[in-house]
Symmetry: C2
Subunit: 276 residues, 2 copies
């Protein structure tokens, strides 16, 4: 661990800002900071009091102090309402250009789903939405939802779990579930290592796209096999049709109204209202 | 965009610290900051001068100012040498417990590969290593290397590209490559959307594990098909055997010496020296 002597309060606060914001929702103990900055606890307490007000003024999130044996300080980042609104509106525009129409009723969106600058914010939005659910881990299924899932997990400071579409030797013993994909109507398999999730875990499910919800329903069944509880489901884009989904409670950020393949038109709509 | 009036210099510096460190390697213009903090350019210039010294003092990276029309300020985070050393040593220990031995000569490491707190640092290490290579995008192949790949891409502020193991309808027209996996000796296919990479791109290849290098060689061939240039290859764990790999230049963080399945022993060694 690095030692930083002889920093004044303002330098310490900038340093604390760096440390706290680079590891969201992680509880740092006061002694950790005392050690790094080589000052006594009252100095750090004073810094934190100043920082609490400052992050509120800057409108970037909240700093929480936790008392007790496992106590300390953590920072929970937020995405401002107007920034969320703008991001979703911008993404609807970006994703509905004619060149993105892929035959079969699909949208090309790999560039968006794999862009660190975009998924970082989507992860923050989902973590803000589900922060009160006491999530133990984020679960997604390979492949396209992984970046959003990872960023959500990062902001909640919990592990990510990735369900595979086929049983892999590197996973050790697995639990396998057969499910019917709502779109293709084909029977598919999903597979997860038996040691991936502890019984009783509170799980947040994240995925990039949902039509009927067959895949998500499969994930729910998988979680039941592990004795885990699904406490939330976040989807990047869900379709309007079919209206009746196979699952109930979910939060999607963008609604896909339809794709007009012939005229190469994609109709997307921000689902911002649902987020609040 | 939020407006922050009436902040004093120290508050602005803490705010700047938050903004710059949450988006590594991204060039922020001076006018962006002038706008947010509602001050004139000389004030921001003064703040940045102070910050340059401060991040050096804190030993968290470097702040660079870029002049010219596309000029501005960016922050490049670093992982300190002693922290890298410690992380790799800790990971060798963590990954070599007997319960991780999976029949067939594999290590269970999903928990490590999908942990935001771990892959965040691995991404920083790789971005530090390849920062001078003028990388245009990070390329990985699904699935286990995606989190490290994403974090590397985030720190370099470039897009991530994920090669699929099967051609997917959602990718549109694809380029497909057959390759022989060094470990299984089976012919496999990898597939990438034709629009995923621009000709002339400088590509950094990231993967979680390499034995003979067949998969990485396949990725190189794929990049040739796209007219892209591989400027670096970062591997989390590579094996000592076979000594002769199918590719030459690569940087691996950890070396796997052997797995003794019978006695459930895994022999890993930090490859820290190779990083320098």
């Amino acid at each position: 661990m690095i030692k930083l002597d002889k920093l004044n309060r303002n330098e310490r606060i900038a340093g604390l800002m760096h440390i706290l914001t680079s590891k969201p929702n992680f509880i740092f103990t006061y002694s950790y900071f005392c050690n790094i900055f080589n000052v006594k606890k009252p100095s750090i307490s004073g810094d934190i009091t100043i920082m609490k007000e400052l992050v509120e003024k800057l409108d970037i999130g909240t700093i929480e102090t936790i008392s007790g044996a496992n106590g300390g300080v953590k920072f929970m980042p937020k995405v401002r309402e107007e920034d969320t609104k703008k991001l979703l509106r911008d993404l609807c525009l970006k994703l509905s250009t004619p060149d993105r129409v892929i035959p079969g009723g699909f949208i090309y969106m790999m560039d968006v789903l794999y862009s660190p600058n975009i998924v970082r914010n989507l992860g923050k939005i989902f973590s803000n939405k589900f922060i009160d659910k006491k999530v133990d881990c984020v679960v997604t299924i390979e492949t396209k939802g992984i970046p959003i899932g990872l960023m959500t997990a990062e902001n909640l400071n919990v592990p990510l779990v990735i369900i595979r579409k086929n049983s892999k030797i590197t996973e050790g013993p697995t639990v396998n579930i057969n499910y019917i994909s709502g779109s293709t109507k084909k029977i598919q398999t999903m597979s997860l290592s038996k040691r991936a999730i502890k019984e009783g875990s509170r799980v947040l499910v994240i995925d990039d796209f949902m039509r009927a919800g067959g895949t998500i329903k499969g994930i729910y069944e998988m979680m039941m096999e592990f004795g885990a509880e699904v406490v939330g489901t976040g989807i990047f884009i869900s379709t309007i049709e079919p209206e009746k989904k196979l699952i109930k409670d979910y939060t999607s950020l963008i609604l896909m109204e339809k794709i007009d393949e012939e005229n190469k038109k994609i109709f997307l709509r921000s689902n911002y209202e649902k987020l609040k």
